[in-house]
């Protein structure tokens, strides 16, 4: 700090480790960030699936059995909740982070959000078609 020295006895309020519990919006933020852990978990899960498929039908069947055990199911349910949280928050923040222009006109926020959901629908339909064909 230059000319404006802090008073010697100015009081600094310490930041609590639990600052993200102090407000609803901070908590939602913390959960949004935590979703990344579940994103990583599901990558690991898909890798295990891929590995099992590569090793043959028996391994694939026992992977499916393992994936049906209660704790894995619960974990994947929680994962779904966090992945959806990630999706919704990500889509909602996109128009704030980017300015999209079409023929010189700024595309309104709702249109950016809506087009992402259209993208999601197309991708989901394609994935479902590809694996269940």
């Amino acid at each position: 700090m230059s000319e404006t020295e802090v008073q010697p006895r100015a009081y600094r309020r310490p930041v609590s480790t639990w600052w993200w519990l102090e407000k609803r919006s901070y908590f939602v933020f913390a959960m949004r960030e935590l979703s990344s852990v579940f994103v990583a978990w599901f990558v690991v899960f898909l890798l295990m699936l891929t590995y099992a498929v590569g090793r043959g039908d028996d391994q694939y069947q026992s992977f499916l059995d393992w994936a049906a055990t209660p704790w894995v199911v619960v974990l994947n349910l929680v994962t779904l909740v966090f992945v959806v949280l990630h999706m919704v928050t990500w889509f909602n923040l996109t128009p704030q982070a980017t300015v999209v222009r079409l023929r010189g006109q700024r595309v309104p926020a709702w249109a950016i959000i809506a087009s992402q959901y259209v993208g999601l629908a197309v991708v989901s339909a394609f994935v479902i078609w590809l694996v269940t064909r």
Binding site: A67, A68, L120, V131, T132
Partner: protein
């Protein structure tokens, strides 16, 4: 001339991973995490899944998906650890663990995906 910095690149990887995770993971979690194991939908046969995964395009795409999702995780989780838990003191260690984990995970992904192609 802009100085070369890693932060912008890490942020780009984080963002790319964020988009892919938002668009692709929900359907994958529903299908492979819940619907197939619990039998809501008949799981694909081994042959079919092997054929899909074994297609070079699928494998290449999945590699990109996995690597970027892990980069997304590394970037977010690093901030979560040192803002959320205020572990600023071990900044170096956290950085190494997070990004190192993502790099390691990407290598593992490449190896595993190579086994089905």
């Amino acid at each position: 001339m802009t100085k070369r910095r890693v932060e912008p690149i890490l942020w780009l990887l984080f963002s790319a991973g964020g988009v892919l995770a938002a668009v692709f993971l929900p359907v994958l979690v529903v299908l492979f995490g819940l619907a197939f194991p619990l039998g809501w939908v008949t799981p694909p046969s081994h042959d079919h899944l092997h054929a899909v995964l074994g297609h070079p395009l699928t494998a290449l795409f999945l590699f990109g998906l996995f690597a970027l999702c892990l980069a997304h995780w590394a970037h977010r989780f690093r901030y979560t650890l040192y803002d959320g838990l205020q572990l600023k003191g071990s900044k170096g260690l956290i950085t190494v663990l997070c990004y190192g984990g993502a790099v390691l995970g990407s290598v593992v992904s490449a190896v595993v995906l190579a086994t089905v192609v």
